[in-house]
């Protein structure tokens, strides 16, 4: 099954999303900050990354930029998750190279649809 890396600092959200993704049959690995997220993305080569943007210290935008500039990880689709429903966030997500974008609170069915779309495109599923 595809492996999804969930980078999320909020324990509740991390727990909730990972539980639901596991229920859907995905293998989920988690990271609670940007640095850890970057490290796990490089080490475990997940099939897709769900990236919370509001992370302490190194934020989601920075992690995404780092991963997208690395030849080893630039192929991993990244979905940005942010509490901001602002147009500027959508632009920012595109600028840094996110493959998709969704707002919190997550509408799970929509998110899974986006995940599946990206994984299909990548040829994983």
């Amino acid at each position: 099954m595809p492996t999804i890396l969930l980078v999320e600092d909020n324990a509740l959200n991390r727990d909730m999303l990972s539980r639901r993704l596991i229920r859907r049959g995905y293998t989920v690995i988690t990271a609670h900050d940007g640095a850890q997220g970057h490290a796990r993305a490089c080490a475990d080569a997940p099939d897709l990354i769900l990236m919370d943007i509001g992370l302490p210290e190194m934020d989601g935008w920075q992690v995404t930029r780092l991963l997208k500039s690395n030849a080893q990880t630039c192929g991993i689709p990244i979905i940005a998750l942010t509490a901001h429903a602002l147009v500027s966030d959508r632009q920012k997500a595109r600028e840094v190279g996110c493959d998709d974008y969704d707002t919190k609170p997550v509408e799970f069915s929509r998110l899974t649809q986006k995940i599946e779309t990206l994984l299909t495109a990548k040829g994983v599923v």
């Binding site: 639901r20 229920r23 969704d102 707002t103 919190k104 609170p105 495109a121 990548k122």
Partner: protein, 664 residues
């Protein structure tokens, strides 16, 4: 000296003197002439009488031819001092006797004239008289007298006259110089007064009137004028005073108002700061609220799934209620966020061109569940040729979503109809009419409909839920796009909401977003190679080239970037690409020039060219041979469709357009 410039005093004196002198001279001259004529006649009478006497006395001497006696007779004339000559002529004309006054040259004697006669010859008076005795003419007496007496008299008279004229002239001068004051005095007085007035500007002065004649009336007139001027001067001064007072008042008012203005500005700044703080607070609160909501909704969903698996359907209903409440809270937060952006003036438009029909159909599909919840039928009526419009599609969707979901909410077992119509009159406009057969509204309820936090009435919120922000936000969005929302409703029968929008939303710089280029993420999900179509991307903007290259790569095309027109043309000749995308605005060679050159080259003319630009000249582009025309920011779907149309390899990666609508 010019007479006209003489003073009036002198003129008057001169006038009087001249007039009286002329009168005196004329009358004296006529008297003199009369006197001299009379005197001369007297002299001639006297001489003729003398001649008769001498002739009579000489008659005997002539009759006896007594020459001596005759001479004696004549010499008696010596007593007459003015008698120059006396001559007795014989009847034959010879001189019989003669007398000449001593000391005078011998005069030339005239020929004797018969009868009694006299004449004047120059300086002399001459008389002829017959000398006869008893009726027999014996000869002629000739007397010649000079005019000494007459001349003396004339001289005397002339002297007297001259003295008289002189004296009368002096008297006239004296009198007239005294009398002219009567006339000139008031005039001079008037002139002096006038000068005083004009020099001192003292309008209180008055000229003194001394007579009732024309001068008097002149003075009266002048005084009246002065009074009038004085009156006006006073009025003017009063007005000036008033004006100064008013000016001062105005200045005070200005100072006062400036102070007020500064205070107001400070107050405004403070209010704006407070408003910004409020907006920031609302925005912060909004997404601070999202985190716990995330958990609430998420966990209730998990619980719902798990509960269902465990076979406890009664809990599922409660969990659904929790989710519904959470989602309602979420929509409320989103509305508040929209509201705070509208209030802060940060709500911007992102207009783009889109086809109306697919948007409307998608809307109806999305809202089908909402209609079914109250057992409503959702009907869509629209013509086939709706075409496209240029507007902020997200906001149009949000408005329609709001109107239709409202209609569904307030209607049970009824029909909600969306009619779409395009009217190309003076202005090309689109009408979206949402009509329902629901509870309707009273006129009073309708009047408050578009106010924030207002629903038809306060009980509505309890019964039907909702934030009361939806319609207000919809109306603000509509106004931003230069449109209108109208409502018509009958309580108990239903409502009709009409959204009217211009087919092309006018661009207002203040409300427009800065048209960011739709940038897409890099992805090496290249499609199968080999037979992929080559797309030449000609654009001077590196970010656009980058974006297009990635996007095209993802779509399965082989993208070749060209940074300029000439480079693009070179690559086009070298590679013969399947499709060319061409930016219009480029520095050294514009897209139009590139297009012209491409179309002029027979080997390149057949390559489809998609113009991509921020300038909307679609007709021009198509006329010049472009195959398609897209506006920036690039709409991925439309680009995909356009590429697909011209490419030989239609295989496409599933569409992954960013979906933002879900959270609204």
């Amino acid at each position: 000296m010019n007479l006209r410039n003489l003073s009036i005093k002198r003129k008057l004196t001169l006038l009087a003197m001249l007039t009286s002198s002329i009168a005196v001279v004329l009358s004296s001259a006529s008297f003199l002439i009369y006197d001299l004529v009379t005197f001369r006649n007297l002299l001639s009478q006297d001489l003729m009488t003398e001649a008769e006497i001498v002739a009579y006395n000489s008659a005997a001497a002539m009759a006896f031819n007594d020459e001596a006696s005759a001479n004696v007779q004549l010499s008696a004339l010596t007593a007459k001092s003015d008698l120059v000559a006396a001559v007795l002529y014989g009847a034959d004309g010879r001189i019989f006797a003669k007398y000449y006054r001593s000391g005078t040259p011998t005069p030339e004697l005239p020929a004797p004239v018969e009868g009694k006669s006299y004449r004047y010859t120059g300086h002399y008076m001459e008389v002829f008289n017959d000398v006869s005795l008893r009726g027999e003419r014996l000869g002629t007496l000739f007397l010649q007298s000079d005019m000494t007496r007459w001349n003396t008299r004339a001289r005397q008279y002339a002297s007297i006259l001259a003295i008289f004229v002189l004296i009368s002239g002096l008297i006239a001068w004296f009198v007239s110089s005294r009398l002219q004051g009567l006339v000139s005095g008031p005039i001079l007085e008037l002139e002096q007064t006038m000068r005083a007035v004009s020099v001192q500007k003292n309008y209180a002065v008055r000229a003194v009137k001394t007579s009732g004649d024309e001068t008097g009336r002149l003075i009266d007139g002048f005084n009246t004028m002065l009074a009038e001027i004085q009156h006006r001067d006073k009025a003017l001064q009063r007005a000036n005073g008033d004006l100064k007072t008013r000016t001062q008042e105005l200045e005070d008012e200005i100072v006062h108002r400036k102070g007020m203005q500064e205070e107001l500005l400070k107050a405004k700044d403070a209010a704006e700061e407070a408003s910004r703080a409020k907006s920031a607070f609302l925005a912060n609160m909004s997404h601070e609220l999202r985190t716990p909501l995330n958990a609430i909704i998420g966990y209730s969903e998990i619980l719902e799934e798990e509960t269902r698996d465990q076979g406890q359907p009664e809990n599922v209903r409660d969990l659904r209620r929790i989710q519904a409440a959470g989602k309602h809270l979420l929509s409320l937060i989103n509305d508040v966020l929209d509201l705070s952006k509208i209030e802060a003036g940060k709500m911007t438009l992102h207009p783009e061109t889109f086809a109306v029909a697919p948007m409307v159909e998608e809307m109806i599909t999305t809202l089908q569940p909402a209609a079914e919840r109250n057992a409503n039928q959702l009907v869509l009526r629209m013509p086939d040729d709706l075409g496209s419009m240029y507007a902020d599609i997200t906001k149009v969707r949000q408005i329609l979503f709001n109107l239709i979901s409202n209609a569904c909410k307030f209607t049970e077992h009824g029909t909600v109809t969306l009619d779409v119509e395009r009217r190309e009159g003076v202005e090309d406009r689109l009408f979206f009419r949402v009509s329902d057969t629901g509870i309707g509204m009273t006129p009073h309820q309708q009047s408050n409909l578009f106010q924030y936090f207002t629903q038809a009435d306060s009980s509505t919120a309890r019964k039907y839920g909702g934030t009361g922000l939806g319609l207000a936000i919809s109306q603000r969005f509509t106004h931003m796009m230069s449109g209108e929302i109208h409502v018509a409703s009958v309580s108990g029968e239903g409502s009709v909401f009409t959204l009217e929008l211009p087919a092309k939303v006018p661009l207002d710089a203040g409300e427009l977003a800065q048209a960011p280029l739709a940038q897409e993420p890099a992805q090496d999900a290249a499609g199968p190679g080999g037979d992929a179509t080559t797309v030449l991307v000609i654009d001077d903007d590196p970010s656009v080239r980058d974006l297009m290259t990635r996007f095209l790569g993802k779509m399965g095309y082989i993208a070749v970037p060209a940074p300029s027109g000439p480079e693009g043309l070179r690559l086009a000749r070298e590679l013969r690409p399947g499709i060319i995308t061409l930016d219009v605005v480029m520095p050294d060679m514009s897209g139009w020039d590139v297009l012209n050159e491409l179309k002029a080259d027979p080997e390149l003319a057949s390559i489809p060219v998609i113009m991509i630009t921020i300038v909307d000249h679609e007709a021009l582009g198509l006329a010049r041979g472009a195959s398609n025309y897209l506006m920036k920011p690039i709409d991925r779907d439309r680009l995909a469709v356009a590429l697909d149309k011209y490419s030989t390899r239609p295989e496409q990666v599933p569409d992954m357009a960013l979906d933002y609508s879900g959270s609204l």
